[in-house]
Amino acid sequence: MIKKEMIAMLLAGGQGSRLGVLTSKVAKPAVAFGGKYRIIDFPLSNCINAGIDTVGVLTQYQPLRLNTHIGIGIPWDLDRNIGGVTILPPYEKSTNSEWYTGTANAIYQNIDYIDSFNPDYVLILSGDHIYKMDYEVMLEYHKSNNADLTIAAMPVPIEEASRFGVVITDETNRITEFEEKPAHPRSNLASMGIYIFTWSVLRDALKANKDQPSCDFGKHVIPYCHERGNRIFAYEYNGYWKDVGTLGSYWEANMELIDIIPVFNLYEEFWKIYTKSDALPPQYVSAESKIERSILGEGCEIYGEVFNSVIGANVVIEEGAVVRDSIIMQGTVVGKGSQLYKTIIAENCRIGEGVVTGVGEYAESKLDPKVYAFDLVTIGENSVIPDHVTIGKNVAISGETESADYPGGNLASGEYIVKAGGEK
């Protein structure tokens, strides 16, 4: 008989629309991070480092990059005879075929997968957080409390607590109340979206809520468990944790890696973060180039200047180009003499010669002011920027643009160009 004490279910199906053009072709968990990684590497590495060798990854939105990245799980040692990593897309059934309509619905549709391992506990993770966490310690805590559900929660400054789902606990850390984005928070313990359920409890809750449209953990399943009087505990976590769900927080989390001794340190031997990486040559730095306060992936060729930036693998920065406060993902080429400032460039872009970005006054985005609310230029993958154009602040560009798209060689702050597919 196959038996695993705890298996993990990783929710990786969301678009992450608040990352704008960065996720127009790729699911948020597959977005590059930190010059080498993808966001999903963090929960996957946490799983294997915590001794969880069975992980179901629920995919739905644009899964190609995610599927090729995960493969059979070799980089994370998740290629197992029993267990390992399994990609779980929505599938057709004889009746009631549907997409994953919500986080809990996605788990509900995969009850058979979970049952096949006869687990005592199920760990629910999301694929958009940057952190290192030992889920095994959390499981010990769950067991010692004889809990039905344990929610990882992190103390945040009370003035910021209104941005989060907040839990209110008694002296034993048992959760007595939930508040979703409260105007006047009564607690500063924010839920991190990491749950350990006793499987029998979750199974019953999912079945009971199966007809709930868009069945969601936060909105439906956890309130249901709470109403039934299940034992729900908060597991307090005090390490580094970052939700990279917005362009601003994504940029910040990347920039935190380049501090002299980063709070979130990738250079420690303990609790390594694994990723799929090809055997790449070292980076070449030419005699004319300057690089300071930056991290750079393998295979880069740098002929220009790079300051305060995170540069992915195989990026080429040509002579005279200056990159500041920017994130450039793998395979992008920055042409001669370009000047990039506070710019996020996704994979395999071609930035022409003499391109200037991030200049001028800030202006509200005409594309989507909720998504593009930072003074960052965001360029989607496989985009082309023609030579000698000037681009303002808070601009979004996606697709193969031409000089004709830039009247007078300019794109003012707050403007956007979205081509090829037209998805934002």
């Binding site: 973060i273 070449y284 030419s286 180039s289 393998e298």
Partner: protein, 374 residues
């Protein structure tokens, strides 16, 4: 592919000086992210050779560690695989490998149990890119018994550490001198051979009966006029790294764009064991010029015309010029290193100075304790 591969990776070489104290020449780190044997193994997998034997003996630990999994070179398959053969004591043999031919003889079952008609034998210390299928086609076209890959070296080059060949106009080798005191030719053997499997088994068995152990002296040279031995000239980059000077120069060659393009940009790729290291980090004070930097490195000082291997830590105020820093080296603040090869896992204390000269590269071995404060 119609051939099995054999990589000869057993040798030591005094010309590597201190660098061979702890590793086989085939395990020497090359170009920041690779080891010398990666080039031959990648060539084999890229030539669609599926069964490969690696024969090791001297300091084989270093190599075994690198070859811990065959998946990096795509050999871990049901059809084929990579086999590492170190000398073993058996009922009828208690010797080390007494030479290359003896190493083949002691593993003759590998050849006997294969079904591929040809064998590619290659040394593990060459840095090159070669499609062995092209050599095999040439071998068949010339109806050769043995084909040797050769390289035309520059007339100014000292070739005394190589086997030197002369050929007739058809490419058949007419003379083969093994490391002669006076150079007879600047066409040298690269230590890469193609031979029919049954022919090889026959030659090796005969050799063993006569208590002869060396593939070059006892097979190539002895059979030179009896067998049809041909020369296949390699025209692209080839370098043998088994002396300190050539090792240094080969690494420095990767600072040239044409060499990097040839190996890293053009098809096919060179593979190596992938280590899970973070991106290289450049802190304030870093000034890197004309250098290769590998993953996991942290740079706080000046690095010029140098090759940094993985996990190099360069302290504040350091000046590193024209040097090779091997894997996992910690260099304390304000150190000055010029024209050196710093051995892997060295720890160099602050304010140290090591200066070699371009004609006499200094090898730095510093096994100090490393204190990490974090």
């Amino acid at each position: 592919m119609r051939a099995v591969g054999i990589v000869l990776a057993g040798g030591n070489n005094k010309k590597m000086k201190e660098l061979s104290y702890k590793r086989a020449v085939s395990a020497m780190p090359i170009a920041g992210s690779y080891r010398s044997i990666d080039f031959t193994l990648s060539n084999m997998t890229n030539s669609h050779i599926q069964r490969v034997a690696v024969l090791t003996q001297y300091n084989s630990r270093s190599l075994n560690e690198h070859l811990s999994s065959s998946k990096w070179w795509n050999f871990g398959r049901k059809q084929g695989g990579m086999f590492v053969f170190t000398p073993t004591i058996t009922a009828d043999n208690s010797n080390w490998y007494r030479g290359t031919a003896d190493a083949l003889f002691q593993n003759l079952n590998f050849l006997k149990n294969s079904h591929e008609p040809y064998v590619i034998i290659a040394a593990g210390e060459g840095v090159y890119k070669l499609d062995y299928n092209k050599v095999l086609e040439y071998h068949i076209e010339k109806k050769a018994d043995i084909t040797i890959v050769t390289k035309q070296m520059d007339e100014s080059e000292d070739v005394s550490r190589f086997g030197q060949v002369q050929t007739d106009e058809d490419g058949r080798i007419t003379s083969f001198d093994e490391k002669p005191m006076v150079a007879s030719s600047h066409t040298i053997s690269c230590g890469i051979y193609v031979v029919r499997r049954r022919q090889l088994i026959e030659l090796i068995e005969r050799c063993a009966q006569e208590d002869r152990f060396d593939f070059v002296k006892d097979i190539l040279i002895r059979y030179l006029h009896l067998k049809r031995i041909y020369s296949y000239p390699i025209t692209t980059y080839w370098s043998n790294i088994s002396s300190v000077e050539s090792y240094f120069r080969t690494n420095m060659d990767f600072l040239k764009p044409e060499v990097r393009n040839f190996f890293f940009k053009e098809y096919p790729d060179i593979y190596s064991k992938v280590e899970d290291l973070p991106p290289a980090k450049y802190n304030p004070g870093a000034q890197v010029r004309n250098s290769l930097v590998s993953s996991g490195s942290i740079i706080n000082g000046v690095v010029e015309n140098s090759v940094l291997f993985k996990k190099a830590y360069i302290g504040n105020g350091c000046v590193i010029r024209n040097s090779i820093i091997l894997n996992d080296v910690y260099i304390g603040d304000n150190s000055h290193i010029e024209n050196c090869i710093v051995e892997s896992r060295d720890t160099i204390w602050t304010n140290s100075t090591y200066i070699g000269s371009p004609d006499d590269i200094k090898i730095v071995l510093e096994k100090n304790d490393r204190f990490m404060f974090n």
